[in-house]
């Protein structure tokens, strides 16, 4: 039983990363019509920025939680202004190729300077240790990651579904020209949306640093699964991305317990099944 709970927790942790990343992908796809293949590289940059902040500026984990998403988000804004904005109106394929190229370049540069092995990042003192719940031992840092990710996901959902800014965003996803003709600076909103999606990826990177170490290819491995999650959930709905992200993490965890041989493929098997039955994804709108 202990092992089952442990796998469930691992599933929830992975689910947290899936949710944070697929949420960002969904928001970016909605506004920019770009499938952001650079997402994994930006997640990795979040972890590296946390590492640099600690190593060179002595700024600890808590600073990194704020600064890394901001810094990497700014990098994303730079990418959008200098490159992605020119793809408006073109086929998805161009955005996919461009962001894939960006990912390869960024990952290549980091590999060149830092090698492929992981750099350690310590769990912050406040979140060290764990509690014995009787049925299992719960490491505090892992509990923190799940709860904090959930809070960030729900806050993002609230921002998009329940605020005026979110209404602009949803409306501009449908008809940017008309929203602009109402007096809203849509190009600026698009840029900031990309920054927001990238910031979420970087935040996931910071959260992951103490668990998974900081490696140039940490995002490349993860993003493949995240894209499968996105295909399963569909791009259409914010809450859909969050729920699908957590659910698939848990399903993966359970598979690891009940049938470990399939744990690395279960998400892809589900993806194929969903594609056969409902090609637009479980919560997606028809394209």
């Amino acid at each position: 039983m202990q092992a089952l709970y442990a796998q469930l927790l691992v599933g929830l942790i992975n689910g947290s990363f899936y949710a944070l990343l697929s949420l960002g992908l969904a928001v970016i796809f909605g506004m920019l019509n770009i499938i952001n293949f650079a997402h994994g590289a930006l997640y990795m940059m979040g972890a590296f920025v946390a590492y640099f902040l600690l190593q060179y500026s002595g700024l600890n984990y808590w600073w990194a939680l704020i600064l890394a998403p901001a810094i990497v988000g700014l990098f994303g804004i730079l990418l959008e202004r200098t490159m992605l904005q020119w793809l408006t109106g073109l086929d998805h394929l161009y955005g996919l190729l461009l962001t894939f190229g960006i990912a390869l370049i960024v990952q290549g540069l980091f590999q060149n300077y830092f090698g492929s092995s992981g750099l350690p990042y310590a769990i912050p003192d406040l979140l060290k240790g764990g509690v014995n719940l009787g049925f299992m031992y719960l490491p505090i840092y892992r509990a923190w990651v799940v709860v904090f990710s959930l809070v960030v996901c729900l806050a993002t959902w609230y921002l998009i579904e329940k605020t005026q800014l979110g209404a602009y965003l949803r409306a501009a996803t449908e008809n940017p020209t008309l929203v602009r003709a109402f007096g809203i600076n849509v190009p600026l909103m698009i840029t900031l949306t990309y920054g927001l999606g990238v910031g979420l990826a970087a935040l996931a990177g910071v959260l992951s640093a103490p668990i998974n170490q900081v490696r140039p290819l940490m995002g490349a491995d993860l993003i493949i699964v995240v894209f499968a999650v996105v295909v399963i959930g569909g791009m259409g709905s914010i809450m859909g991305s969050i729920i699908t992200g957590f659910a698939l993490g848990v399903i993966e965890g359970l598979t690891k317990y009940f049938y470990p041989e399939a744990s690395n493929t279960v998400v892809f098997v589900l993806m194929v099944l969903v594609l056969l039955v409902k090609p637009q994804g479980l919560t997606g709108r028809a394209a």
């Binding site: 209404a167 409306a171 996803t173 449908e174 008309l178 109402f182 809203i184």
Partner: protein, 255 residues
């Protein structure tokens, strides 16, 4: 306040309304040309709208009426010539800036957002000036909307969607409204309601540029008409001259 050019514009409209007070020209369009990609749609459009007027653009399908409104709004990629709004040339201005100057646009396809409920649709356009209609005033004009505030925007009937599309731009404080075929595809009762609404807005001093195919309807609200054909204005007359122009109109509109 009263310069000669403005007086001239006021003269043209004094034919239809009694007091010859000099009013400002709100919109002056000169030599407007516009393109969709390679296709050249507007070939030098000239007209003007004076403060407080309802001016109607008539013309067959495809004559370029919608393109004219969109060019004024700044949402046609390539446009040349001169569009002056309240004395400022906006031919090169981005559409969000044009909206902020006080130009409001209600598109032909209505543009109600499916992912927003009625309240969000209504509250979407930001206020650009003081003095827009309050929600109470809007519900007085469109009582239906009040009951449907929490419905999904696109769940409304066609007539209600049209009301919503007009209502949301009345909140913004813009005093110059461009309405593209607000009666298209609607039942006669609703058309009548929209006619009354336009008359009330005119009373309240709004300036309105209206696109219509239905000149019977337009004649109940308009001060002046322009007729468009093949991307040009080919005719302009006051409402009082409508009967005299009927034969020509029938030829232009093919009705």
């Amino acid at each position: 306040m009263s310069n000669p050019a403005n007086n001239a514009a006021a003269m043209t409209r004094s034919a239809s309304s009694a007091p010859a007070v000099s009013r400002k020209t709100v919109l002056t369009v000169e030599n407007l040309e516009a393109w969709y990609g390679e296709s050249h749609i507007l070939h030098g459009v000239n007209f003007n709208v004076t403060e407080g007027e309802v001016v109607t653009l008539l013309g067959r399908n495809g004559a370029g009426k919608t393109t004219t409104l969109k060019s004024v709004m700044g949402i046609i990629g390539k446009r040349t010539g001169s569009v002056e709004f309240e004395g400022q040339n906006i031919i090169r201005t981005a559409s969000d800036k044009i909206a902020r100057l006080g130009v409001a646009f209600c598109p032909e396809e209505r543009g109600i957002f499916a992912s927003l409920d009625v309240r969000e649709n209504l509250m979407l356009p930001p206020q650009v000036r003081e003095g827009g209609l309050t929600l109470d005033q809007i519900f007085e004009l469109f009582p239906n909307l009040k009951e449907r505030l929490n419905s999904q925007g696109t769940k409304l009937s066609g007539g209600e969607q049209q009301m919503l599309a007009i209502a949301r731009i009345l909140r913004t404080g813009a005093r110059f409204l461009m309405l593209d075929e607000p009666t298209e595809g609607l039942a006669p009762v609703i058309i009548q309601q929209i006619g009354q609404m336009i008359a009330r807005l005119k009373q309240q001093g709004f300036t309105i540029l209206l696109v219509e195919q239905n000149f019977r309807f337009a004649s109940t609200v308009a001060d002046r008409f322009y007729v468009m054909e093949h991307g040009r204005i080919v005719e302009g007359f006051a409402n009082s001259e409508l009967e005299a122009n009927m034969d020509k109109l029938h030829t232009y509109l093919g009705v």
